[in-house]
Symmetry: D2
Subunit: 363 residues, 4 copies
């Protein structure tokens, strides 16, 4: 479905970086959920990350809701979020119009759209399109909170610097949700930012890892085989630009474990089923066990760097070189954090609505 | 869609480990593709892995095709593969009937199906169900070969022992396809098997990593955002039991790279677009670049081990202990290899049919 | 999805008229629903209609369930129904192998499948494939009855002879369910059968209309716009071979009404919302009102007739003539009745599971 | 998918009658198709029908395209059409806020959305939402014309007055496309309009029938069983508000035919496969034969009438009466005509892209 995801609750994104507007349509979310425009604006701001790390002075993205909300609550019909692009004047894109930027979708888009794609600023492939996902995700996050389901993501690593692991999931996830640079250990955050600054000063960029925990999802959600919760979450997470890996629980490290180390042995503690380890990330056979859902996402370094790079001409396919100019973030992992929360919330709303019916998320 | 995957080309799986039969329905594959029953049997045998590592004496799974093939070729209508279960006599499952095996889907299935699920041998969650996927995948692999698209997977690691990396992709993938224990370096294979044997003797099990390369897929295949080729491949790969991680190109290692290291700089060599590195795994913006598609999959250790484990009673949820008996593989990564090839082939057939039309794969 | 229908509850059909076997996979139906093999056999018998009208001596279709049922109840995982074809010996199909039978799919299938389709007896386009739908539908009908939802279909007209209209819906639908020739007025049934016999004696065939009523579906089921309940039911009903029209409530007659005649004025009678008329067939804005769902389906006359017909050669496309031999039903509307009930039940199970959750139909 | 339809080419609608804006997102249409804003405006005007029959003075709906078009051509990424609502000031809706209008979705929406729906002017169920479909449909119609596929719909009947049948399909469809009141025989148009006026003067309304022909679709398009072209077209047509019946070819009249009358006997005329009759509407086995696709759609009379009607209070469910005021069209069949063309075009673009690939419609 290309730009639409989900079955009972679905989201559709549209727009190009330098087109008239971008946005999203969120369909199927239960009626009666309060829509808090301040919270949406807050999430948008986190995605933009207008703080110290980004020299680019950005105007705050303003989200206009044109349908699906009535009297401050969801109606149950499609909610449309429109974000006008501020800077759409035509300008000279110079060599970016015909040279494939390495690490970007320019060449693959050319092969798919035959030159008709809007190339400006990456067009439909721009990370800017995630703004619509974040707006829709904000409503999904609100709906889940009404059912005591909480999502928290921290920057597990950035530029090779690692954060401390999750500790008290409830306290950690609460705190992370409001952080622009979501790191659990402040000292590590300083070191990560130093790594970003160093890369930037060298005209280069860094990547990182996100780690996400979800608490409060009941056991018994997900499907066997082709719609395991891992399948569906991974599907959505790989939609985030620059994501190159997704792992659940122990993930790739599980490959080096013995079965006796990897198995999470169930325990009944105070009438609640739990386990001392969570190497399976709260999912067995594709279905939730009631333990926290836990996964990590790899984010590659920003492909826009200021060093001269070899590449090809999009039309002639001849070899050439490219020198990207202008302002670009030397890291995006901190901005991708709120996008990861958003797609996770959208997937869970969909799964819960399918499992328990379309009214289940109703406030 | 739970047990169905794909749009233009889709596969549906069914069955339980100890039910009457298991199988799959493959729909939408182009008409006219030769169906080689020997090749299907060969793939089935690779999945069963009746060699030295498996003490379990298994009878070869026999695949019966009851529809969709006429005169030795696909008709274009659903192909149904049925594999009768050999051993379905009722027996005493003892404590396995009511105790949740750690690392298995017993508990999550109980929460979803309320005790109505067929618990015997894991029921519908058994790895045995992959036999249907392998049968359908064999037809998909044949169809792709007709278009010079080749898939090769090796055991990148097992029990902590690593294989050599891919070298000459064409030679490597050709060779791997026929190997029961698909490792590129024979010495490493011996060491991996030693690790498996050691775990087995200790009543334990080991996991591993698979690495897959696909050559010959044209540039321009895949979709932006919610149906990136990474999204769709990861969706299918996480359907394979025991898979806990999927990464493309450099994957999680990309998170530690600088942009200048991670970007694959395009080069025109002999009128073919390529690059010296393939950190993006042949996919940018979710769409193929024409470089080989490259990904790795993490397989956790077999959850069935012979050490006593703590767990809960499925009905009372009381704490208890469990001692699994019988015969179980101390590793499954070598058997999962052909399953990874199969789901990859099914995803690619679907993507290619959507991109170029339902007749494109026709012989 | 070609041969798969439904989202939360889905059915996949497979098989060819003269292949090894036909059947269906029913996925997503709630766990715990009793599966009554006698009822399935009963429904199969109604579809076969081995009574006075069909000279063809048919062996009863025997349905084998190979998955998804455990201890006599649904497990919640895919239920596979397999019906072996009795007569699959190769024989000389003569001119049927290369001449397009008018009214059949021979020519359109040739254009789609390029000659690779199994032509014998219509292959995958044979009405015989509905046997799988009826088997799956029997489980769906049982599930709905557990929630007091009843479906009844009568032959509204056949060969130009009309049945009396529905009168007491509960009594009528109960009675219809067991009838092989489901007509409310016995005298009309005799006249219809006389029309069929007359056509048969002339080497010709007749068509008819089915009228279906569903009681007990709660208000608030269905979706606006692209998944109106009318859209989804019509989609499924047009899947039945020979159906050329579907109408809800007053249907085409509504086009000739005034608004003041067509509007169903709501009334509260004994704390139940109802109306004196049901011109909208229980659906407004695509969503149920709680009034009975009411629709009619047009079934064209059996295309296999014994008169010589003009047609073309499938390979050369040259003009030629065709003389069909053998045994064919001079009417199928009475056999299509149980198929209409079945697809209706499958659609409703899907809609109800999406609306109220996957456990709602659980016994 | 509720408000989204289609697979390879899909459309999503959003908005409420008196919300901020309505619109649609068209995804998957091939890149490079010219987007003619004048033609879109023309189609919008036909839908609004601001001519003699509608006393309501409407401002022309202005369509703003905010994504997916670059340099006057489709990019291949989602095209978003936004139509601002002109009159969204709050006003006193009086009894319409809490009384169920007969024939409208007020009551069924209340049962689904629990009072959170935007009730103003029918909210999301308003016929106004079809404006988004018409905008998207205009691009689809343009794309099809580029492949010589033409769609023509006439008002077959209105208020009991019938138009002449199709005669020369090419000439007829060309002429119909530009007509605001699309009737082939001008004298019948006058009589239909007299019937509308008579109903209007009596505070009542009339319904009608639409008949659509599509020429130029190649043979071999469509799928067996659950995605027959009839299934998919009917699915989309029943999404149009007020449609209560859909029939293909001879439709319900086929139920009264003999097989020898109903079968369309193939003939090769000048190397083209055709038939003297088209009782199957160009579709056999769900797949096109290459003959014109032919179907009819029943449109019920406008439910908004000015006579006092019985109904219930939406909150208390008590019996009450309702008197609708203001301006409402006494007929909508002539306005529904362009909507029928639009959904037909969207369905065909989707089917053709699935069959022949996503580039097939490219100019």
């Amino acid at each position: 479905m290309k730009n639409t995801f989900g079955s009972s609750v679905s989201v559709t994104v549209f727009g190009e970086s330098h087109g008239a507007a971008i946005g999203a349509v969120l369909d199927g979310i239960a009626p009666g959920i309060p829509v808090d425009e301040d919270f949406i604006a807050h999430q948008m701001k986190l995605r933009q990350s207008v703080g110290v790390l980004s020299t680019a002075r950005r105007e705050a993205d303003s989200v206009r809701i044109v349908s699906g909300v009535f009297g401050g609550r969801t109606t149950g019909t499609p909610i449309t979020f429109i974000i006008e692009n501020q800077d759409t004047r035509s300008k000279d894109y110079g060599e970016l119009a015909y040279k494939a930027r390495p690490g970007h979708a320019d060449f693959s888009a050319q092969m798919k759209y035959h030159g008709f794609q809007d190339f400006r600023g990456g067009g439909h492939f721009s990370g800017r399109i995630t703004a619509g996902i974040v707006a829709a995700g904000a409503v999904a996050i609100s709906a889940l909170r009404g059912k005591d389901i909480k999502i928290g993501t921290h920057i597990l690593s950035c530029g090779g610097v690692y954060d401390r692991p999750f500790n008290d999931l409830n306290a950690d996830t609460d705190r992370l949700s409001d952080m622009e640079f979501a790191v659990l250990d402040d000292d590590r955050a300083v070191k990560m930012q130093a790594a970003i600054t160093a890369a930037k000063e060298d005209g280069d960029s860094v990547g990182g890892r996100l780690e996400t925990a979800v608490t409060g999802v009941p056991a018994g959600v997900g499907e066997p085989w082709f719609d395991t919760l891992e399948s569906v979450l991974a599907h959505a997470l790989f939609s985030i630009p620059a994501v190159k890996g997704v792992e659940f629980g122990a993930g790739f490290a599980a490959a080096d474990m013995l079965g006796s180390q990897c198995n999470d042995c169930f325990r009944n503690e105070n009438n609640s089923v739990t386990a001392a380890t969570n190497n399976n990330g709260g999912i067995l056979g594709g279905i939730t066990t009631g333990l926290p859902i836990l996964f990590r996402t790899a984010v590659k370094p920003t492909p826009s760097i200021f060093k001269e790079q070899q590449t090809i001409d999009l039309n002639s396919l001849d070899n050439t070189t490219l020198q990207i100019k202008g302002r670009h973030d030397p890291a995006i992992v901190h901005r991708a954090r709120v996008v990861a929360d958003s797609v996770t919330a959208l997937v869970l709303c969909d799964q819960l609505a399918m499992r328990f019916g379309t009214d289940w998320l109703k406030a």
